[in-house]
């Protein structure tokens, strides 16, 4: 047990801090768009050149080419958070498609797609979920018919967050109609400019169109646009989903929210009394602080295990379930403490923090539900983490999906 950094790590941290101070004028503005603008692309290229983004991606594919070093990664993340500096791009192309291609793509695919994806010039969206295939993703019915050297795609996707700005999609399509449920799927990548693709915005309860639906009508995709083997798409996608699950439930985000709520309680008053002196809100704040500290400690434990190449087991499986719930509860406390100020939204007078707490309260509920619901997460923890028996097979299995 050693919670301090080694001297070499401290030196590295100083270098990152220096870099951020020196380049503070180059920090791009935070953008509402899901497509990086020119200043963000320039910043991303600078970060890659310093090894503060795409750090472990080989140089030949446009990365920095360093050996994996979790401590350095953590120091980078901490230094950026501490300075309030915008970090490297975290879009679905960088976080999900690049690792998948690195693991399973052909050499040609890697060389063609990874470099512009890393710089932010090539934007991707994810085509996995369908209206009839949510938690039961393998029931997807979007169909890719074999027509010689192409697949002809018909069907629909949903929850494709950046579809309206994306250049390309990575997509799960049922190409083998006769194969068993999990074995008939292929992982295809194609341009969003391909004829027959229609994107419709999908408004959520937050009032914003954070997602889209995508409709395919006779979309023709060349067969070499497949990643992995035909019919192996389910397994390719699971490799990718693994990366997505790791992105959610970050304890640093929860800690930052806790600080912000503490500031609200110290600042706001009711009947002339500071909210921090209300024992009930203080108690809730402290309950959540204990959870934030526990998830921070769990994160340190995970980092150590990863560093040593040891299996992380349960402490990894719980991160999303616990982290998303914690974030939702933090937002709930902020709203409750703010009372009637807490329900103001949509930009009118007196709105606190631009309505971010209501937005988070709803959006985090979406995260609890999406990307594998909390219910599915619990199944995974019970079956993989605790080795409890799987749901027994049914007497009359239905068709693959309806």
């Amino acid at each position: 047990m050693k919670l301090a950094y080694a001297p070499a790590d401290l030196a590295f941290r100083d270098a990152v801090r220096d870099f951020l101070a020196t380049h503070a004028t180059s920090w791009p503005k935070r953008s509402e768009s899901m497509r990086p603008g020119p200043d963000q692309i320039a910043w991303q290229k600078l970060l890659i050149s310093k090894g503060y983004a795409a750090r472990t991606v080989p140089e030949v594919y446009g990365g920095y080419g360093a050996a994996p070093d979790l401590i350095k990664s953590r120091i980078i993340a901490e230094a950026f958070a501490e300075a309030g500096a915008p970090g490297g791009l975290q879009n679905q192309g960088v976080s999900m498609l690049v690792p998948t291609l690195l693991e399973l793509g052909t050499e040609a695919q890697k060389r063609r797609y990874i470099p512009p994806t890393l710089t932010g010039e090539l934007v991707w969206c994810q085509g996995y979920s369908e209206p009839g295939a949510g938690s039961d993703l393998a029931a997807l019915t979007c169909r890719g018919e074999d027509v010689g050297d192409h697949f002809r795609i018909n069907g629909q996707k949903i929850w494709t967050s950046s579809a309206h700005v994306a250049d390309m999609m990575f997509c799960l399509v049922r190409t083998e109609a006769e194969a068993p449920k999990h074995a008939g799927i292929s992982y295809l990548i194609f341009s969003m400019q391909t004829p027959g693709i229609e994107v419709r915005p999908l408004k959520t309860m937050t009032g914003q169109a954070e997602f889209n639906e995508v409709f395919f009508t006779d979309v023709m995709v060349p067969k070499d646009q497949i990643v992995g083997e035909r019919g192996q798409g389910w397994f390719v996608a699971n490799a990718t989903l693994k990366h997505e699950r790791g992105m959610l439930g970050d304890p640093n985000a929860a800690a930052a929210r806790l600080r912000a709520i503490t500031a609200i309680l110290q600042r706001e008053t009711v009947d002339g009394e500071s909210l921090i002196n209300n024992p009930l809100y203080l108690d809730r704040l402290m309950r959540l602080q204990a959870r934030v500290l526990a998830m921070e400690a769990n994160g340190l434990r995970l980092l150590t295990a990863a560093q040593k190449g040891e299996p992380a087991g349960l402490s990894n499986l719980i991160v999303k379930l616990m982290g998303c719930e914690l974030n939702h509860q933090l937002a709930g406390l902020a709203i409750d403490a703010l009372g009637e100020l807490g329900v103001l939204y949509h930009g009118g007078p007196h709105e606190v923090d631009h309505g971010i707490w209501q937005h988070r309260y709803m959006f985090d509920l979406g995260l609890i539900i999406g990307g594998g619901t909390a219910q599915i997460q619990k199944n995974i923890i019970a079956e993989r983490g605790l080795n409890l028996p799987r749901e027994p097979k049914l007497a009359k299995p239905d068709a693959v999906a309806r």
């Binding site: 979920s129 209206p131 009839g132 295939a133 949510g134 938690s135 039961d136 029931a139 949903i158 929850w159 999908l202 408004k203 959520t204 309860m205 997602f211 706001e268 008053t269 009711v270 009947d271 002339g272 009394e273 209300n278 009930l280 809100y281 709930g332 709203i335 409750d336 009372g339 009637e340 100020l341 807490g342 329900v343 103001l344 939204y345 949509h346 930009g347 009118g348 007078p349 007196h350 709105e351 209501q358 709803m362 509920l365 979406g366 609890i368 539900i369 999406g370 619901t373 909390a374 219910q375 619990k378 049914l394 299995p397 239905d398 068709a399 693959v400 999906a401 309806r402």
Partner: protein
């Protein structure tokens, strides 16, 4: 001994529900909620015709002279479909006028409320929820100064009942001098909030009878009615979640056959069923059990806030992703429950008030002098 709804109650529910099915179907509510100014004049007109705003107005002022249980059943029906219409403001302002206004004022205003031509907003936030920051109005010589936050049913308001920070009640004309009004957009796009900024604004004190008791009665009624609204909204969410769980298939079976989904639904139903009895009880007590009126109003508000929050979240979980989109419009009730939770005293405050009402702890101290700007 007869605890439950009688035929008149059921007839009231049925006729209001029919009206709402016609004038506030889901698609219509969604369309209104998407507007910049989310109110629906056609619906308001239809509700007024049905006598919604006349429910609590005494018969000698052209009202129906009914009790708070009837008003609560109406609130439940409005919450159930997230009706984009004023209700709390006019009904509770009418109650304040009935109890605190003099005969002339009542004759002038109450018939207009009964017909729906006068739809006052209600501004008692600082008295019932506590004064945030420097909000709140103070009264001096029949004039109000200061800002009242979270005025209920603001968008359609053509007059206001206002509570001062010290617990006085006032009638305020919407064209009074020195009054400026701002709309406060909130999560619930089916009801509107606003603020009143008063600068030496003339107002009529509603000081007929015991002012403290009038405010208490209005506050109690407000708490019961938002509890009923939450009951209706949460019941809709449960009903729709159950229907969805019966139909939606994943992994080759209805999701309602999965024990996890089944138990979520059972927990929601259990909480709501007990809560329903509490709301009826609390509503009925306002007119018949004066000793328990405050206690039950506080508990109904606090308990329904907690149960509503639980159901809003859990029903959304049963739906999965589609539940957070606008496609099914479930969020209308979700947000209605969210707004109700904060109105007229958050649950923590209502529980303290419940303890005070039975003498477990002392009364709330007077508003601190140093903050009375």
């Amino acid at each position: 001994m007869d605890f439950g709804l009688d035929d008149d109650h059921r007839a009231l529910q049925a006729s209001l529900t029919r009206l709402l099915q016609r004038h506030a179907p889901l698609a219509q509510v969604q369309a209104v909620a998407a507007q910049d100014e989310p109110t629906d004049p056609v619906l308001i007109h239809a509700l007024a015709d049905q006598g919604l705003f006349a429910l609590l107005v005494p018969t000698d002022c052209d009202g129906l002279g009914l009790g708070l249980l009837e008003a609560a059943l109406a609130a439940e029906a409005l919450g159930a479909c997230a009706a984009p219409a004023p209700y709390l403001g006019p009904v509770l302002s009418g109650l304040a006028l009935t109890l605190g206004g003099d005969a002339a004022l009542k004759k002038r205003l109450l018939p207009a409320i009964a017909t729906g031509s006068l739809l006052p907003g209600l501004a008692i936030s600082e008295a019932s929820s506590g004064a945030r920051r420097n909000f709140g109005v103070t009264a001096s010589g029949g004039r109000l100064t200061g800002t009242a936050l979270a005025v209920v049913d603001f968008a359609t308001a053509n007059g206001f009942v206002v509570a001062s920070r010290c617990g006085g009640l006032f009638w305020l004309e919407s064209d009074a001098s020195g009054l400026s009004c701002n709309r406060l957009t909130n999560i619930d796009r089916t009801r509107s909030l606003g603020e009143l900024q008063c600068h030496d604004t003339p107002a009529l004190a509603l000081d007929h009878g015991d002012v403290g008791q009038t405010l208490r009665t209005v506050e109690n009624a407000a708490r019961v009615l938002v509890a009923a609204d939450t009951l209706g909204a949460a019941s809709t969410m449960l009903t729709r979640a159950v229907a969805y769980a019966q139909e939606r298939r994943q992994f080759g079976r209805e999701i309602g056959s999965f024990q996890a989904v089944k138990h979520l639904c059972a927990e929601m139903a259990s909480e709501l069923e007990a809560a329903r009895a509490l709301v009826w009880y609390a509503a009925h007590a306002q007119d018949t059990l004066p000793d328990q009126a405050t206690l039950l109003a506080c508990h109904a508000k606090a308990h329904l806030s907690e149960v509503g929050t639980f159901v809003a979240r859990t029903a959304t979980e049963v739906f999965g992703g589609i539940g957070i989109t606008d496609a099914l419009g479930l969020h209308l009730q979700f947000k209605r429950i969210g707004l109700n939770r904060q109105l007229f005293g958050a649950p923590e405050r209502c529980r303290v008030d419940a303890a005070r009402a039975q003498g477990l702890i002392g009364q709330r101290p007077p508003y601190p002098a140093q903050a009375q700007v």
